[in-house]
Amino acid sequence: AQSVSQHNHHVILSEAASLELGCNYSYGGTVNLFWYVQYPGQHLQLLLKYFSGDPLVKGIKGFEAEFIKSKFSFNLRKPSVQWSDTAEYFCASRGGSYIPTFGRGTSLIVHP
């Protein structure tokens, strides 16, 4: 079975700090990768996705992620976080089936 590991379960930052959330996936074939975000009181929504091509993908609100195939990683980054980035972040992979597999999630709290 496929798995997705998110190593940081809780992250606390001050505004303007840089962010990197780790994500590793297990599927060894062609894979689609995603980051979803859930802001307080809101639905899970797509932040960014990687299907093919440029391994550095840009998402909404200044987020980006880099696909490194050799490391089975898809880490999420943002150079300068804002208080409004406080949310739960989920990494997901989809390969070989129709079923996206999600990680445990990372809770990010940004202090103003």
């Binding site: 995603f34 639905h43 899970l44 989920f90 989809r94 129709y98 079923i99 996206p100 999600f102």
Partner: protein, 115 residues
């Protein structure tokens, strides 16, 4: 509708009772997924529908769990003889065919509490 609708948003029930959770996907979305999220855990896959057939039921945790879908529309997740470990947020998501098939649109979830 404009988004994925789930009902009820909150359900408190006694152990041993049956519950039904409903999901109304985005119109035209052929694929529908149910996930479960227990407190402090990730999203646990339950079942996937393509149209009204369920090619993958591998995530249903026991025979107390069942789901059905009417055409490419509403889906119902039924939990019989609920147990305390069934307490979780049950999330429904849908996706279209074609290029958008990889991106899921989620509902707000149904929070189930079993006393």
């Amino acid at each position: 509708g404009a988004g994925v609708s789930q009902s009820p948003s909150n359900k408190v029930t006694e152990k041993g009772k049956d519950v039904e959770l409903r999901c109304d996907p985005i119109s035209g979305h052929t694929a529908l997924y149910w996930y479960r999220q227990r407190l402090g855990q990730g999203l646990e896959f339950l079942i996937y529908f393509q149209g009204n057939s369920a090619p993958d039921k591998s995530g249903l945790p026991s025979d107390r769990f069942s789901a059905e879908r009417t055409g490419e529309s509403v889906s119902t997740l039924t939990i019989q003889r609920t147990q305390q470990e069934d307490s979780a947020v049950y999330l429904c998501a849908s996706s279209p065919q074609g290029a958008g098939a990889n991106v899921l649109t989620f509902g707000a979830g149904s929070r189930l509490t079993v006393l």
